[in-house]
């Protein structure tokens, strides 16, 4: 695994992975159904709030305010958590964070931890690192469980098993869950019931839990986890020791700032007015919940991302996954094609930035995995201009590449021709020769790279006269 985690080693570049995914018709049907459903619901949930746009603007500004003075807010958070009996740790990268979790787990005398789904711990590959240290991590979120049992990869930020439909989930449960009833149907309620029974004893006996955090309030030290099933509440309430791994960008200044995000997040993610359960805790409360609380503040590429004045807006992300659900590319390829724990439009800008210098060929292909249609920006509750960052990262990728690559040479030649109208007219005339390739006004086959176009589409034959030639002839 690369030093910072985030991506899966050896996954193919996006165009190749997409080709495989596109051939899977079941996958495309499942994704289409799920994303179409959630898109409609989200639009309804958002339309219900008359002040949605002001909320987005406030959400954007609060996050920008935090990022502009991140050090101060983190120190304030540390002081508040410490004052309330929590212990704060700082982790520069995946390796450091994983070591801290492993050490704390051993100190608590546990060889198993229960986990509530967390993108931060997925990003650092915590489960694998714990396993190497002899500690088993038990994922308790239903979708994570489906992925774990199906020996699959997560394909969505919110719903890692979105690529599976109910009958596939039933099959996975029947195959992999020892205590599942023989006659279980594909009724979602029965499947949820099976998960409940499967995990109940784990919750009741766990000594250590690991969570992420959706928000942490600098002023008060309050940490917030937003969830649906109650597995989060189990993890946050029952074990003696709670370890929370949180990206440093998750801090918000004050308690009242949550009034913005707790409205933006549920409607954007599951399209609900409110998610079933939101838990808030501050340090340790005697007689209620864990006796030990550790908060790990994770960098893992975030300060590098912060240093990029265009790209830093990606750190506003509250992991709602609305951008995935509206993305026409994601809808066709699914999440696995992105080869990262962060798929979809946000993943395409977050993954290469978090990797920084560890960026590889696969991660570098991600900023191109977009038609720049802008649907992601339109729904983003914190107004991340994802197309802007995608284009910015493409420019960085070009900078890093050889200036004599075929593409760079072609682009330079085209820019040179377009730099002067006479040269441009000459180039148009040359392109007009394309008429010779046409039959019935259509070009149906071109050599590479034009073949990538003509593999599924025709091209119109260039006309006998360009517009500028017509203008000069009739008006000039």
């Amino acid at each position: 695994m690369a030093g910072r985690g985030v991506t899966w080693l050896g996954t193919p570049t996006f165009p190749k992975a997409a080709r495989t995914a596109l051939a899977d018709t079941q996958l495309r049907t499942n994704l289409r159904n799920a994303t179409t459903t959630i898109r409609g619901k989200r639009a309804g949930a958002v339309a219900e709030l008359p002040d949605w746009e002001p909320l987005r603007l406030a959400g954007e500004a609060i996050k920008d305010e935090v990022l502009a003075d991140l050090g101060t807010y983190l120190e304030r958070l540390e002081a508040a958590v410490t004052a309330r009996g929590g212990v704060v740790h700082w982790a520069r990268d995946a390796v450091e964070a994983n070591e801290i979790v492993l050490r704390l787990t051993r100190e608590a005398g546990a060889d198993e931890v229960v986990k509530i789904k967390s993108m931060a711990t997925a990003e650092i590959g915590l489960n694998e690192a714990l396993a190497e240290g002899g500690v088993q991590a038990v994922e308790t979120d239903l979708a994570e469980l489906i992925v774990q049992l199906g020996e699959d990869r997560p394909s969505h930020i919110l719903v890692p098993a979105i690529h599976r439909n109910r009958s596939e989930i039933r099959e996975i449960f029947r195959r992999e869950m020892p205590d599942v009833p023989e006659d279980i149907t594909d009724e979602p309620r029965e499947l949820a019931e099976a998960a409940r029974r499967h995990l109940r004893q784990k919750f009741l006996t766990a000594k250590v839990a690991v969570s992420g955090a959706n928000f942490a309030v600098a002023d008060s030290g309050s940490v917030v986890v937003v969830e649906s099933e109650g597995n989060g509440r189990m993890c946050l309430t029952l074990p003696e020791t709670l370890i929370t791994v949180m990206g440093i960008e998750k801090v918000v200044p004050t308690w009242s700032d949550l009034e913005v995000f707790l409205q933006l997040l549920p409607r954007s993610s599951t399209a609900e007015r409110m998610n079933p359960y939101t838990s808030v805790w501050t340090g340790v409360t005697p007689g209620d919940g864990p006796k030990n609380f550790h908060l790990i503040l994770l960098d893992n590429g975030r300060t590098d991302t912060l240093a990029d004045t265009v790209g830093r807006q990606a750190l506003r992300c509250i992991r709602c996954s609305a951008c995935l659900n509206v993305c026409p590319v994601y809808e066709r390829t699914g999440g696995a094609a992105y080869g990262s724990v962060y798929p979809g439009p946000i993943g395409a800008i977050l993954t290469p930035q978090l990797l920084g210098e560890d960026v590889d060929k696969q991660a570098r292909s991600l900023p191109y995995a977009s038609s720049l249609c802008g649907a992601c920006f339109e729904v983003c509750p914190v107004r991340i201009d994802i197309p802007e960052v995608l284009v910015h990262l493409r420019a960085e990728a070009v900078q890093a590449k050889n200036k004599t690559s075929p593409e760079a040479v072609a682009m330079a030649a085209l820019a040179w021709a377009m730099g002067d109208a006479r040269r441009w007219a000459a180039a148009q005339k040359a392109a007009g020769i394309g008429r010779l390739l046409s039959r019935g006004g259509r070009i149906t086959s071109l050599p590479w790279p034009g073949s990538k176009w003509t593999s599924s589409r025709d091209l119109p034959a260039p006309p006998k006269e360009t517009f500028r030639a017509w203008w000069r002839r009739t008006r000039g």
Partner: protein, 200 residues
């Protein structure tokens, strides 16, 4: 890490002024009716009674559910304790995990309710007890007083102390993990029943 953050912000962005043009005080014609409607949207059962009718309503609900052994925070009003039921108060956090796991249900009050989102907020204060009480039993009966109802989330948060252990409950336990559709019933209480007490 703080040094890296400082270096990353060498361009000195900000300061940012946060526009607070969103509605912080939204009004509703009938907040209690809105709360009831929104909780029902989550497929929870809701009743509205006046103060005099509350004890009877609690008794009827518990009987209908067949709940005989109920967990209770130590400071539950005595008038709520229906006589046909065996009450297990959580005196000095004496209820064990196994006992809570096997009990028929739990009765609590709440700190605040949010009408617009159909949310109950528990803050471990009066008539609520510690968090685990409302987590392990499969049935949660919750009483909301009219004066505890806020219309919107901003109004509710302003009434809450963020340093207390808080649980926001919006309907029974649910998941959206199967085909992105909400279905009820995973790890938390699978049945949520709410009694809204109208009037004073």
């Amino acid at each position: 890490m703080l040094g890296r953050i400082r270096a990353a912000l060498a361009d000195r962005p900000g300061p940012v002024t946060v526009p607070r043009d969103y509605d912080r005080t939204r009004e509703a014609a009938d907040p209690l009716a809105l709360l009831a409607e929104r909780i029902e949207d989550y497929r929870a059962v809701v009743h509205r009674v006046d103060a005099a009718g509350l004890p009877g309503r609690i008794a009827t609900s518990l009987a209908a559910r067949g709940a005989r052994r109920m967990a209770a925070p130590v400071d539950l009003p005595t008038s709520w304790l229906a006589p046909e039921v065996t009450w297990r108060p959580d005196t000095d956090q004496s209820l064990t995990i196994d006992e809570l796991d096997g009990i028929d249900g739990v009765l609590t009050g709440c700190a605040v309710a949010v009408a617009e989102t159909g949310t109950l907020v528990l803050d471990a204060g009066e008539a609520q007890g510690r968090r685990v009480l409302t987590l392990l039993p499969d049935y949660h009966l919750c009483v909301v007083r009219a004066d505890q109802v806020a219309v919107s989330l901003p109004e509710a948060l302003a009434r809450l102390d963020g340093t207390r252990p808080l649980t926001f409950v919006s309907g029974p336990s649910a998941t959206s993990d199967i085909e992105l559709n909400r279905v009820e019933g995973v790890h938390g209480p699978r049945t949520l029943e709410v009694v809204i007490v109208t009037g004073g």
